[in-house]
Amino acid sequence: MLINLLASHAAPQLHAAIEGGLGAITLYHYLFVAMVMFALGVIGFLARRNLIIMFLSTELMFQGAGLALIAFSRYHFNHTGEVFVIFVLTVAAAEAALALALVVLLFRQRESLDAQEWSSLQG
Amino acid sequence: MMLWALILIPLLTAALIASGPRGAARGTAMLGSLISLFIAGLAAFQFDWGNSGAMQLGGSVPFLPSFGVEFSLGVDAVALALILLTALLQPLMVLGSFSAITSDEKTYYAWLMALMAPMVGVFAARDLLFFYVCFELTLVPMFILISLFGSTNRKKAAIKFFLYTFTGSILALAGLVYVAWKASAQTGAWSWDIATLQMVAQSMSLKEQSWVMLAMLAGFAVKIPLFPVHTWLPLAHTEAPTAGSVVLAGVLLKLGTYAVYRFVLPFVPAAVAEYAEAIALLSIVGIVYAGLICWVQRDVKKLVAYSSVSHLGFCVLGMVAINLIGAQGSLLYMINHGLSTGALFFCIGMMYERYHTRSMDELGGLAKKMPIWAFFMGFFTMASVGLPGLNGFVSEFMCLLGTFQSGAEGVGGVRGPLGFWFAAIAGTGMIVAAIYLLYMVGKVVFGPLKEPAGHGHHDDAHGHAHLPQDLTGREIGVLVPLAIGCVVLGVYPTPVLKAFEAPIQHTLAAYDGVNFEDFDGEDDDHGLALVALPAQGEAR
């Protein structure tokens, strides 16, 4: 819904972009997809209890951001966004490695990947 | 120099006590406090009383120059008088604790001595931040004294004491910093010099002044304590060790009234003029309300504690009368209350050491067993009641007269916010004071002898205090200086009054342009015409 809000009321240059036409697929479409990916990531993170799925959801969020970066990069006619995406991918990879290691460690302890299992620290 | 010494010597003594052997603790404390007293006397000797309104004996050390903060000291007659009171009480507190404190003496005396430094600092500060810092730092030793050496409920009392006053004073800091910021916006540089800030503060609009006053009062009224923010005091008094109660009543409460005198009155004259009636009302309610509460207490110490609330109501009342007589009375009240109520706490402590109770249900007619104690108890009660010839009278009389005069369109060109009814209703406090204090004396000192059950063999019951029936020479030695003070200030207060005249005139000069009739509340958001201040005397 955020996206819709954005799309209908957003900054003038977005409107310009839409009306001026980048062909059939405009910045708006890219952004829409990116936002959907990000939102799905958020929803997945909140809704799923499996640690691996949750991690994948965050990856989805990262990739959503990446997609938006590339779209903006294209829109601004510079490569900064693309460079950024490359770094983001690196970070995501590092995080993935970390996540997998952690998941293995945890699985060894509890034989379960349910996030709810880990709630002894509270208050 | 001497002011620095008065701050540093207690600290040094505390350090020596902490590092020295246990047996030497009280001796060291006694020595240190006597040296402090001597230096205070010397300071009084050096002070130019003819120029008592000027800040003297000053000196400063830069601390945070980039913030404009200096450790800057200096006293006028008012501050010096309160420092003298502090220095006088200090050796007496040490002396009075000899038999009461029998364990962990090093900690006790070290903190007791450490307490003196910030108290002197508050009175001697000429820098706002230094004042505030000292104001806060008094909390720590007191907190420790109460929580380590208090009676059964000490933890709660100490925490309440600390948090209550701490909360208030943070708000006061906000108010003070606001003024400092205003000053910095005007002058382009941050300064915490009280005299400078005073001038800026006076030029603030009424609305600003009111907020600043509220913030300051949030801190200071708690300390005084003014109704309805007084409830920490009875608890703290009841739980504190004797010397703690003495210093609490004697000096710590005066920090609040002194701060009102030093900051609220000259900083925000328009707001004070606007809200003086409200403050006076609170004071009066406190006088009568706390007085009546005293009357139904069962614990002697709590009674005297509530009486402090009542008494300091007079003090604040005299101050917001905004005239010389009221302010004179109020300032004198600070000293007098320190002497007489401090002494009452000593007396109660001495009784407690012998009977291990303070309940009026268990005690009675002690005059028969302890005539000398009874004499002193009666004496200080009378000083507290405000009997003419003793110190309490002069101050109470002048506070009420100032209040009365404040609204009277009488001769002498005195204007002010209060008036007849304030004095009349506050005056009932005189009656109430007589009621509750005589009630206490009648119960505890007079009447048929009543001692707590099992008291007869107190030497084996309570191993430590082998005290004779009546007061020892040491205990008399504690009380006599206070009694002398009470008599001298009651019979011959003139030198003190004369010395206070000039500083009060400085303070009240802030009100020269205030038109008390105009402040009806709705019309004015105007700043006061900046009143030309009399030049504060330079430090020498």
Binding site: F38, F62, F72, N78 | S66, F67, W190
Partner: protein, 546 residues
């Protein structure tokens, strides 16, 4: 100094790339040190393995010296002088933290090795542990050097990622792993938020460069307002950074993670990510500038956001700390609260150029970070140094009772540390708060200052508990006494912290001046300077406006 700055950045003979490199010399030193530590830790010889700590310490010292003597500013940054201050601070606090971290991992492995068994490289992770620590600090220093969103993002991640590992491996208990998993997953979630925010900022402005001729700052300055996309970007970025500084609503992980991790690691978490977050916040807000929002501060949306976040953060932290029994949880919540206080400085902003210390909110933040970094270590050091006889950390408040009698050194460290954090006058913590006070009032944030004051009072309650338990209470006779760990360096860390808070007092003015200088804003940009001074003229809003 300015000439040096000019020489480093724009000298004709120095290629731009090299000039850029010269400002990250400390990071390079750290990186080299990290590599050395990694390798040393794998040695079969126990002495050499032990030397890894020394190597780390050495690297920190050299990095600190390099930062202190290196270039003092970057020409095209709006915060040109923040680097040396931040890096020296990071190196110094890092050094104390290093002392505190000794012996955190590999105790069994080392014990076995000492007992004569062959050293099992695969099981050992001391080298990794210190290396991660060093990486994290490197990341932190890079945050200070950042002038680009990409750089900032990578530096923040470099700061965070190692800490996830450190938390997980800090003890063998499952609590540490639980802490690790919570920390990591929520961290990843927030990193995505941060990234999304950066994306929007980039999308709105077309630049990732924060300052300079073609940069986010210049675009915003030219537009004179943020615009919705950029606003959204900044909001999301700030919220993402809130995770690093443990601010509401991203604070949830803090107590659990602090409690689950070893005390030394918790101490590190209280300083390292927080500093990273605040450096990031300072950079982002600097890019926006304090001249946009109705003329007197941040744009109203951001100001409101930070205002609410600050107020909630300090309140949440303090009221929840009241409910705790665990010292570590108390310190965790207090860490949240301290973040709330520091946000006041961010809101206040730097004030007029050259106006001096008391009004510089960013300077206040830097000063507070410094004082917090020093005083906070002490409390954690006490917890790290004590163990119950049954094993496990002595983290309950009641375990501290009578500590001044039984273990005077640790007891007094706890007392001094708590009292300093309480903000009792003259302790360095008071000066930090006072600095924030003056800065906040200078910016007219009276209400926030009052909230902060009341929160300090609430905080006094639990700090009094922390200080009172060792000093004023007595340990029950029948209770088993505590054991002090063999790692004297932890006590040393505590001692340094306790002595530090006192020893820094005489230098408080110098430090405040340094903080102010380090946070001096807008040196290079005429426009930003103008807007900042314009802001100063109008930010003197009276209390009546609220």
């Amino acid at each position: 100094m300015m000439s040096l700055l000019a020489a480093m950045s724009a000298g004709p003979d120095v290629p731009p790339m090299i000039a850029k490199l010269s400002i990250i010399v400390p990071e390079i030193v750290m990186f080299v040190g990290t590599c050395v530590v990694l390798m040393l830790g794998l040695s079969k010889t126990s002495t050499i393995r032990r030397a890894s700590v020394g190597a780390a310490g050495l690297a920190l010292i050299i990095a600190g010296i390099a930062a202190a003597t290196g270039p003092q500013g970057v020409a095209d940054s709006l915060l040109p002088h923040v680097m040396p201050y931040a890096k020296v601070l990071i190196a110094a606090v890092g050094f104390i933290l290093l002392l505190l971290l000794t012996g955190t991992v590999d105790r069994e492995v080392e014990a076995e090795a000492d007992a004569g068994k062959p050293f099992d490289v695969l099981r050992a992770n001391r080298a990794e542990f210190y290396a991660f620590f060093m990486f994290s600090l490197t990341g932190l220093m890079l945050c200070a050097s950042a002038d680009d969103l990409i750089w900032l993002f990578l530096a923040l991640e470099l700061t965070s990622l190692p800490t996830y590992v450190m938390v997980s491996i800090s003890t063998a208990r499952s609590r540490s792993q639980e802490a690790g998993v919570k920390y990591f997953f929520l961290g990843a979630f927030s990193a995505a938020m941060l990234l999304m925010g950066f994306t929007f900022i980039y999308g709105a402005t077309g630049y990732t460069q924060l300052f300079g001729y073609h940069s986010i700052a210049s675009v915003i300055g030219a537009q004179g307002s943020l615009g919705p996309i950029a606003t959204l970007g900044f909001v999301m970025a700030i919220v993402g950074l809130c995770f690093k500084i443990a601010a509401v609503p991203m604070h949830f992980y803090t107590p659990d993670v602090y409690q689950g991790a070893a005390a030394g690691v918790s101490a590190m978490l209280a300083f390292v990510p927080k500093t990273a977050g605040f450096l990031g916040l300072m950079l982002l807000t600097s890019a926006v500038g304090w001249g946009l929002g109705g003329g007197y501060g941040l744009p109203s949306e951001l100001r409101l956001l930070l205002w609410v976040v600050a107020a909630l953060t300090m309140t949440f932290g303090n009221v929840l700390a009241l409910m705790q029994r665990s010292v570590k949880r108390i310190l965790a919540y207090s860490s949240i609260a301290h973040s709330g206080y520091m946000l006041v400085g961010i809101i206040a902003g730097p004030g007029a150029w050259g106006a001096g210390a008391p009004g510089n909110g960013l300077g206040a933040v830097l000063f507070y970070l410094m004082s917090y970094g020093v005083m906070n270590v002490g409390a954690f050091a006490v917890v790290a140094s004590l163990e119950k006889q049954s094993g496990g950390e002595a983290e309950d408040v009641d375990d501290l009772r009578g500590l001044c009698k039984t273990h005077p050194l640790l007891g007094w460290i706890m007392v001094i540390s708590s009292v300093t954090m309480l903000g009792l006058p003259f302790a360095i913590g008071f000066l930090g708060k006072f600095y924030l006070f003056t800065a906040g009032l200078r910016a007219g944030e009276v209400a926030l200052i009052v909230v902060m004051g009341l929160n300090s009072a609430i905080a006094a309650f639990y700090y009094l508990r922390l200080a009172g338990a060792p000093l004023l209470e007595h340990r029950d006779e029948h209770e088993a006494s505590l054991v002090v760990t063999a790692f004297n360096s932890r006590k040393l860390a505590g001692l340094i912290s306790a002595v530090g808070v006192l020893a820094l007092l005489p230098f408080a003015d110098r430090l405040a001046t340094l903080s102010d200088h380090a946070a001096s804003y807008g040196a290079s940009s005429e426009a930003a300077q103008a807007s900042a001074s314009q802001a100063e003229h109008v930010d003197a809003r009276s209390v009546t406006d609220h």
